[in-house]
C-alpha cells in the first residue's frame, strides 16, 4: 500500500515559497544573476535543482539569464529566472523574443523602489506598467501579483501552468515585503497540485506546421531535437516559422497572439473578493497592499461603512469585467498602491459608470498601513 502524501506545514519566506512552487510545477532549469531582494530564489534553487536532475546556472548578467531560460524552454524544459528592477530592465528584449516565439517561461520580479538602482531593500510596486509594456511592440503577456508566502507558492504553480498552456511568458510581481516575510505555509501534497504541461505535436513531423492556428490559438510545441525541425525567430513569421513581410500573414500572426490570451480570460484573470456582497465602498489592491486592505475594510465596517476588497492577482490581461462589476456596485473605489498610481489608471480607464475612483499612493519605500487605507475611506466618505 502506498502511503498517502500528507500536507506539509513549514515556515517559508516568500522567495523560498516561489522556489517550492516552481519545483512543484516542474521547473527544472533556472538561470539568474544575483540581485537584492531576489537572490534567495537563486541560492535555494542552486541547492535544490541538481538534486532532482535539474540545472541551475548563474549567468554573466540578466540579458544572458533571460536568453538561457528561453533556450532551455525551447529544448523542452520548464524554465524560470528571478530578478529585481535593474535586472528586469535588462531582460526586456529577450522577454519580447519569448512573446513572439511563444516560448513558455516564468520571470519573477521582486520589486524594489526605482528607477535605476533605486531602493534595493525597500518594497515598492513601481514595475507594474513595465511588466505589461516593458518589451517593445504590441504583445500579450500575463502578469500576476503575490501578497503572501502561500500565494508565492500557489501563484508560481499557476504561472507555470498558464505559461505552458498559452505559450506566453508569465511575470510574477512580488515585492521586498512579500519576498522576505517568513510565514507558516501549508503546502498541499504533491498529488493534489494541478500541473499543466505544454501540448506537444502528435502528428508525424512532416505534417507539423509549427505556428498553425487552431481553435485555441495555441499551436503544439515541439522540443529542439525531437524530430520536428523548424525555424524559430524573433522576426514576425508565417505559420512555418519563416520571416514574412506579407501584410495578411503579419496581421494573422499578431492577432492570434492576442486571441489566444483573450480566449483564456476566464482562467487567466484571477481575482478574489472579500466582503464584497453588500459593499457600497471598495478597495482594489494587489501585492502586499492587499494585506493592509484586508484589515482596513474590517476596521471601516466597524465604523459603519460597508467596505469590501477586490484583490487583483492577475494584473494583466487587466481583469476588466470584474473591476467593472465593482465599479457598478460601489459609489466609491479606492486604489492604494506603492507607486504613483499605475493600476488606478487602469481602473479609471474602465470606469464608465461615474463611480468616484481615487488613488492612494506611497512612494517613500514604506508599506501602506491598514490605518491609512481606513482613514482614507472614512474621510473621503465624509
Amino acid at each position: 500500500m502506498t502511503k498517502r502524501q500528507s500536507k506539509k506545514r513549514i515556515l517559508l519566506q516568500g522567495n523560498e515559497a516561489v522556489v517550492e512552487g516552481a519545483l512543484a510545477a516542474g521547473c527544472r532549469f533556472f538561470a539568474g544573476y544575483p540581485i537584492t531582494p531576489a537572490s534567495e530564489i537563486s541560492e535555494v534553487l542552486s541547492v535544490r535543482l541538481p538534486k532532482i536532475g535539474g540545472t541551475f546556472i548563474q549567468m554573466e548578467d540578466e540579458i544572458a539569464s533571460m536568453g538561457a531560460i528561453v533556450g532551455a524552454s525551447l529544448a523542452g524544459v520548464k524554465s524560470m529566472t528571478a530578478t529585481s528592477g535593474p535586472g528586469f530592465s535588462l531582460m526586456q528584449e529577450n522577454l519580447g523574443f519569448a512573446c513572439i516565439a511563444e516560448v513558455p517561461c516564468v520571470v519573477v520580479n521582486v520589486m524594489r523602489g526605482g528607477p535605476s538602482t533605486g531602493l534595493p531593500t525597500n518594497p515598492a510596486q513601481g514595475d507594474v506598467m513595465q511588466a505589461r509594456w516593458g518589451t517593445h511592440g504590441d504583445h500579450p503577456i500575463i502578469v500576476l501579483a503575490v501578497s503572501t508566502a502561500l500565494e508565492c507558492f500557489e501563484i508560481t504553480v499557476k504561472a507555470f501552468n498558464l505559461s505552458e498552456k498559452y505559450r506566453v511568458p508569465v511575470i510574477i510581481l512580488s515585492d521586498e515585503m512579500v519576498a522576505h516575510t517568513r510565514e507558516t505555509v501549508t503546502l498541499p501534497p504533491h498529488d493534489e497540485i494541478e500541473v499543466i504541461d505544454r501540448i506537444t505535436p502528435s502528428m508525424p513531423p512532416e505534417w507539423y506546421i509549427p505556428y498553425k492556428n487552431n481553435s485555441k490559438g495555441v499551436p503544439p510545441m515541439s522540443a529542439l531535437g525531437d524530430g520536428f525541425r523548424h525555424h524559430v525567430t524573433g522576426l514576425v513569421h508565417d505559420v512555418r516559422g519563416f520571416p514574412t513581410q506579407t501584410p495578411h500573414e503579419i496581421e494573422a500572426f499578431i492577432s492570434r497572439l492576442f486571441r489566444k490570451v483573450t480566449q483564456g480570460f476566464h482562467e487567466i484573470q484571477i481575482t478574489q473578493s472579500y466582503l464584497m456582497d453588500d459593499a457600497t465602498v471598495a478597495v482594489i489592491a494587489y501585492g502586499s497592499v492587499v494585506r493592509s486592505a484586508q484589515r482596513a475594510i474590517i476596521d471601516a465596517r466597524n465604523q459603519g461603512v460597508k467596505a469590501g476588497l477586490l484583490q487583483l492577482t492577475t494584473l494583466f490581461p487587466f481583469p476588466r469585467h470584474v473591476v467593472e462589476n465593482v465599479l457598478k456596485q460601489c459609489r466609491f473605489v479606492l486604489v492604494p498602491e506603492m507607486n504613483i498610481g499605475q493600476i488606478s489608471r487602469e481602473v479609471k480607464r474602465v470606469n464608465q459608470f461615474g463611480t468616484h475612483v481615487e488613488k492612494y499612493n506611497r512612494i517613500d519605500g514604506q508599506l501602506i498601513t491598514p490605518d491609512e487605507i481606513c482613514v482614507k475611506l472614512l474621510t473621503t466618505l465624509g
Partner: protein, 277 residues
C-alpha cells in the same frame, strides 16, 4: 554543378521555402554556409541533433536556409540561448553563428564568459570587419585608419583580435580561417564541432558592399585577394623571427587544449548533491 554539391543542396537547404536568400552576390556568408554544411555532413551528424543558433545581422540570417533545428535569436545573445539549449539537452550539437559586431560588441560579454565556462558549444564568428546589415558602421574589428559609414574621417579605435581574445578567455579550441581558404575552413569547422569544449572559429570574410567599397576593395575578387595576401599560416608565423606586420593575421589552429567541460562538471554536482540529502 558537380553531383556532390547538388546532393548536399538537396539534403540540407530549405530550397523550396526560404530562397532567394538576402545576401548580396559574392558575399562571404555563402562560402561559410557551404563549409559548415560540408563539415556537418562529413562528421555524419543527423539533422535532428543539430541546433544552429544565430544572432542578428547578415550572418544571423544564415540558419533560416538550412534544414536543422534553427534558432534565430536577438542581436549579440545567440550564445545565451545556445547555453540554455545545451544545458537542457546536452546530447544536441549546438552551433552558434555570429557576426563580428554581434559576437564582440553587443555580445562581447557573453562571448568571453561562454569561453571561460567551457560548455560544449561551437561559435562560428564571421568577421567581415564591419556592420553589414545596418549599412557599414564600424565594428570592434574595423581596422584603425579604415573607413566606415560612421568613420568617414578614418577610424580611430583599435581592433579586437577575436581568436586571441577567446583563447585568452579560456576557449578549448580556437581556429582562424578565411573565406578564401575554403579547405582549411571546412577542416577548422569540423574540428571545432568535434572538439569537446567551447570552440571558436573566427572566419575572415568579405563585405565588399559596405567595407570593401569604402576601402578601395569594392568587389568580392579584390577582397578575396586581400584575404589571400594577408593570411599567414600559423605554423609559418611561429617560425618567423620578426613580429607579424600589423595588417597580417594568422590562420590555422591557434589553441587546442583539454579541460573539463561544463555539463560533465555539473553532472558531478548532481551526483554529489543527491548523496548529500
Amino acid at each position: 554543378m558537380p553531383k556532390e554539391v547538388t546532393k548536399l543542396i538537396h539534403k540540407y537547404l530549405r530550397h523550396d521555402k526560404t530562397f532567394p536568400h538576402v545576401w548580396c552576390p559574392g558575399c562571404g556568408n555563402g562560402i561559410v554556409l557551404g563549409a559548415l554544411i560540408r563539415a556537418i555532413d562529413k562528421i555524419g551528424l543527423q539533422k535532428d541533433e543539430v541546433v544552429l543558433a544565430s544572432g542578428i545581422g547578415c550572418s544571423g540570417r544564415m540558419n533560416v536556409y538550412v534544414d536543422f533545428n534553427t534558432l534565430h535569436t536577438t542581436h549579440g545573445r545567440s550564445l545565451t540561448f545556445a547555453t540554455g539549449v545545451k544545458l537542457a539537452n546536452p546530447s544536441l550539437t549546438v552551433i552558434s553563428v555570429m557576426g563580428d559586431g554581434d559576437a564582440t560588441a553587443i555580445g562581447g560579454n557573453h562571448l568571453i564568459h561562454a569561453a571561460r565556462r567551457n560548455l560544449n558549444l561551437t561559435a562560428i564568428i564571421i568577421n567581415n570587419q564591419i556592420y553589414g546589415m545596418t549599412g557599414g558602421q564600424y565594428s570592434p574589428t574595423t581596422p584603425y585608419g579604415s573607413y566606415a559609414s560612421t568613420a568617414v574621417y578614418g577610424h580611430i579605435e583599435h581592433t579586437f583580435s577575436i581568436a586571441e581574445l577567446t583563447a585568452t578567455a579560456g576557449a578549448a579550441f580556437v581556429g582562424r580561417g578565411t573565406v578564401y581558404h575554403v579547405t582549411l575552413l571546412q577542416k577548422l569547422i569540423e574540428k571545432a564541432i568535434q572538439k569537446r569544449g567551447f570552440s571558436v572559429v573566427e572566419i575572415m570574410s568579405n563585405c565588399h558592399i559596405h567595407y570593401g567599397r569604402r576601402n578601395k576593395m569594392g568587389d568580392p575578387v579584390t577582397m578575396l585577394q586581400w584575404l589571400k595576401d594577408h593570411a599567414v599560416p600559423v605554423e609559418k608565423a611561429r617560425e618567423m623571427t620578426s613580429d607579424l606586420p600589423e595588417d597580417k593575421f594568422t590562420i590555422g589552429i591557434l589553441a587546442d587544449v583539454e579541460k573539463p567541460i561544463y555539463t560533465e562538471e555539473y553532472q558531478k554536482i548532481r551526483d554529489q548533491s543527491t548523496s548529500k540529502q
